[in-house]
């Protein structure tokens, strides 16, 4: 039904358009195209604004729709460099093997000698193009009752002062807009109302800005405050400074939450990187320097699964990360088991030697992957639901991918805890940790426990690789970035304690991120390292070491 309606409408429009797009209109439109073709930022911006105003010149919805479609077409052609101009300033839009006149939209041809060139999209033009496209899209949507993309809404938010005022006043008059759009538009209006002399308008604007506290609204208010003349009414001055104070408070809370959130997300990454190590080092006493490489392998397996899905089941692509979880866990765990079987098992009585052997393993794995896949960073498809985030308090942005990482870390923590504390396997692992001979004597197959725990540790590292694949660079040497940090976390936490690892990850992550803005990232790392060394002096077996009679 809707399709039919749209089709009919567009036919009608084509007719209506050809009727209305003559005379004055045609002059306007060619002037706009001429402006866009100028390659001069000022003129291009003027043309874009004229284009915006042009869309709401008529009150006839059909005309509006037609003009809005044309405007969107032109802007998209401009940003995609499909709009090409002759030296005389007439514009054409390049399609696949066809050329249309930018003004009439009709197919056309140009003499081969005429050199067509896309106008330079200088930096100042981009924001204007984006904002005009966004408001135009809203206008079109209000006529056709379609939805507006989030992206357009966001760009309104970012550059309220650049919104075309005629388009804005048109939109504010529409009654059929969804609530979220209305809110955005009111915010945009508030920025423009700040310059209003009317006290009611001004206080409405202040109220809206206070509700949407951000550094941007603060800046706008401070600018207004400094421009207020001393004779301005006392209430205006007071209202403004009240609003500024309120926003500043909220910004500070937001900033604090931001740091906390960054710390939390960094902690969850540290935790993911360290938990596998906590198992193999903590429970088994194996110093596995190849742990970082298991993280890397986990990321590469995720990549392979992504590529397989892309070729064989494209529809599942948005869920490739979820689909990968079992594969990554089992495959990385399998590789871990193979390494345990071939290398580690010879070395249980010589923990310092496992350090060297696993260093060898790590060199081997890095180079094997390098030979197989090359050294470049792998490209991971980031599902749309992991991009962006939501602004909560002031400028505190909760980004989805970090939130997902935190959630994933919590999940891994729970699963590991259950596995170690609530299952037969976990009991066996702990028994072997406590007393290998005794465990063997009561019938626990210690070899099997060794292989399985090492596989578990490797599998968990693989999962860390999966979680990190959309945040960090994935290349053969990515693992080495994590190994020192992971060891610090495990040692600080106390060997053999999952909770210790968690606490240490939180501590290191949050302290690191909290110091960073003050002394810089380099100093933050140095300070955290120093703290860890000092803590180890006081608690040689970590924060959470188990007190047992040895």
């Amino acid at each position: 039904m809707t399709f039919l309606r749209t089709y009919l409408l567009s036919v009608l429009l084509a007719i209506a358009g050809s009727v209305s797009a003559d005379g004055q209109d045609r002059q306007d439109t060619s002037a706009i195209v001429g402006g866009l073709c100028s390659s001069k930022p000022t003129q291009m911006n003027q043309a874009l604004n004229a284009l915006g105003s042009f869309t709401v010149e008529s009150s006839d919805p059909l005309v509006i729709e037609n003009n809005a479609r044309w405007a969107l077409w032109i802007i998209s052609a401009l940003t995609k460099k499909q709009l090409v101009c002759s030296p005389t300033g007439s514009g054409f839009v390049k399609g696949e093997d066809e050329l249309r006149d930018a003004v009439t939209r009709e197919l056309t041809k140009v003499d081969e000698n005429v050199k067509l060139k896309a106008p330079f999209l200088h930096l100042p033009v981009r924001p204007t193009a984006e904002i005009i496209a966004a408001t135009t899209e809203m206008i079109l949507a209000s006529v056709t009752n379609d939805a507006v993309s989030d992206k357009s809404l966001e760009s309104l938010d970012k550059k309220p002062e650049q919104v075309n005022s005629r388009q804005l006043s048109y939109l504010l008059k529409q009654s059929n807009l969804p609530g979220r759009q209305v809110k955005q538009l009111e915010l945009v209006e508030a920025y423009q109302l700040l310059r209003s002399e009317d006290l009611t308008d001004y206080s409405t604007a202040l109220a809206v800005l206070r509700e949407n506290a951000s550094r941007k609204s603060l800046t706008a208010l401070i600018e207004i405050q400094s421009s207020l003349s001393p004779e301005a009414s006392g209430s205006k001055v007071e209202m403004t400074s009240n609003a500024i104070n309120a926003i500043e408070t909220e910004l500070q809370i937001g900033q604090f939450l931001s740091v906390l959130y960054s710390g939390l997300s960094y902690s969850s990454i540290l935790f993911l990187a360290a938990i596998g190590l906590a198992i193999v080092f903590g429970l088994m006493g194996v110093i596995n320097l190849a742990q970082g490489e298991f993280i890397m392998i986990g990321a590469y397996i995720t990549f392979v699964i992504q590529e397989l899905l892309a070729s064989f089941a494209y529809g599942l692509m948005p869920f490739y990360l979820l689909i990968s979880i079992p594969f990554v866990f089992v495959l990385t765990g399998g590789i871990g088991a193979a390494i345990e079987y071939s290398v580690i098992r010879h070395l249980y009585t010589r923990p310092l030697m496992t350090l060297l052997a696993t260093w060898g393993v790590s060199i081997f794995l890095v180079n094997a992957v390098r030979v197989l896949f090359g050294t470049q960073n792998l490209e991971f498809y980031v599902p749309h639901y992991l991009v962006g985030g939501v602004t909560l308090f002031g400028d505190f942005l909760v980004t989805w991918n970090r939130l997902a990482t935190i959630g994933f870390a919590v999940l891994v923590l729970l699963l590991t805890w259950i596995l170690v504390n609530k299952t037969r396997f976990g009991v066996n692992v702990r028994a072997v940790t406590e007393n290998r001979n005794m465990a063997g004597a009561i019938g626990i197959d210690t070899r099997k426990v060794d292989v399985l725990s090492f596989a578990l540790g490797s599998g968990l590292a693989g999962l860390a690789g999966l979680a990190l694949s959309t945040i960090y660079n994935v290349n053969p040497t990515m693992g080495t970035n994590f190994i020192v940090d992971a060891f610090m976390v495990v040692v600080l936490g106390g060997v053999g304690s999952i909770w210790g690892t968690l606490l240490a990850a939180l501590l290191v992550g949050i302290v690191n991120v909290a110091i960073e803005p003050v002394y810089g990232a380099v100093a933050a790392k140095v300070i955290v390292m120093t703290l860890i060394i000092v803590v180890i002096q006081f608690r040689p077996e970590g924060l959470f070491s188990l007190k047992v009679r040895k």
Partner: protein, 360 residues
């Protein structure tokens, strides 16, 4: 074996002195070969230093690059100071910081005697403080290995900073004159190589004397069973500190010899990887024997120099395989491997002789 290391020490020292003597008499040598041998000798000394600690006292440090770097950086500061005194312009990394003279801690470093005192003092103080605190808190085994790694990593991060006055990431280079000799040329290379060999030899001899002394016995006792020793009333912290500080000084000497030969020092020598590599030399050569680690350093760094040129793609695989195989099958390192090989040949020999006998 023990007697062998004494002899080898004297022999190496004699070789070094002979080389120095011959060169000063005008005997010419290949600069490339001298440089290569000299660097490997410095690495061998580094391996020896860790072996003294790990092999004889049971303490694995994954931060020995720190002491290597102290020696290396101080000698580089000396060379920078000498160059500055000659040219009057500070090195470019300081010019860029806007400094027109060297910072105060370069004071007097142009004197070689002062340099040597400075290296000894800085190394002793750093190793003593860190060692005393850690050993007193009974940080041992794996934990000690990991915090030493953290220590060297931390210092590396600090040295990456430009405002530290040590050249940041690029480090220090562009030395015009080394101990009164031109920075380049086969004579300089031969002198440095000879010096390195002689130092290595003397240190080897000294280490042998040390491990045979009562202190050496106590070091071995710490390695075997530290808590037993404590229950006999021995404050093992003292023993460990002695081993740790001597080892640190040997490592600093290695750095002192190494940097003039490569002509550059920068924070990479503080990377945890290098420190692990030192442990690999020791383990491969055989810890607890004095000659083994030297052999390990010579074999690995020699192979590295050759193979990164000849078969760059293969080098990491060869290194990895070598490490894994030796660690698994030959717990006491190459020294053991050679005896494996010898016994294999003996068996092979007896096999053929049996065959020979069975044939009429």
């Amino acid at each position: 074996m023990f007697q062998a290391s004494e002899k080898a020490g004297i022999l190496l020292a004699l070789c070094g002195l002979l080389l120095i003597g011959a060169t000063s008499l005008g005997f010419s040598t290949s600069q490339y070969a001298m440089n290569l041998i000299g660097q490997i000798a410095a690495f061998a000394l580094l391996a020896l230093s860790l072996d003294l600690l790990w092999g004889f006292c049971g303490i694995l440090s994954l931060g020995h690059g720190l002491f290597f770097a102290i020696g290396g950086y101080l000698v580089a500061m000396h060379l920078v100071k000498v160059t500055f005194d000659a040219t009057g312009t500070p090195p470019d990394f300081m010019l860029f910081m806007g400094w027109d003279s060297l910072p105060f801690y370069y004071f007097q470093l142009d004197s070689i005697a002062y340099l040597i005192v400075a290296i000894a003092a800085v190394t002793t103080v750093v190793s003593f403080v860190f060692g005393y605190v850690s050993f007193r808190s009974r940080v041992t085994g794996v934990y000690f290995a990991i915090i030493t790694q953290a220590l060297v990593y931390m210092v590396m991060l600090y040295m990456f900073r430009n405002d530290s006055g040590f050249g940041g990431n690029n480090g220090m280079t562009g030395f015009k004159e080394i101990f009164g000799m031109p920075a380049s040329g086969s004579t300089t290379a031969a002198f440095l190589c000879g010096g390195s060999l002689a130092t290595l030899g003397l240190c080897l001899y000294g280490c042998k004397k040390l491990v045979d002394s009562p202190i050496g016995q106590f070091m071995l006792a710490v390695r075997e069973d530290e808590s037993r020793l404590r229950f006999l009333g021995v404050n093992t912290v003292h023993i460990k500190l002695i081993a740790w500080c001597i080892s640190a000084i040997l490592a600093a000497m290695a750095g002192f010899l190494y940097v003039p030969q490569v002509g550059i020092v920068n924070p990479t020598i503080l990377s945890p990887e290098l420190s692990i590599e030192i442990a690999a030399w020791v383990a491969l050569g055989g810890r607890g024997s004095l000659l083994g680690p030297i052999l390990g350093a010579v074999v690995i760094s020699g192979l590295k120099f050759i193979l990164t040129g000849l078969a760059p793609d293969l080098w990491p695989f060869i290194l990895a395989t070598l490490i894994i195989c030796v660690v698994i099958w030959s717990p006491n390192g190459l020294a053991d491997t050679s005896s494996h090989v010898a016994s294999f040949y003996r068996r092979l020999g007896s096999l053929t002789s049996i065959k020979g006998r069975s044939q009429p």
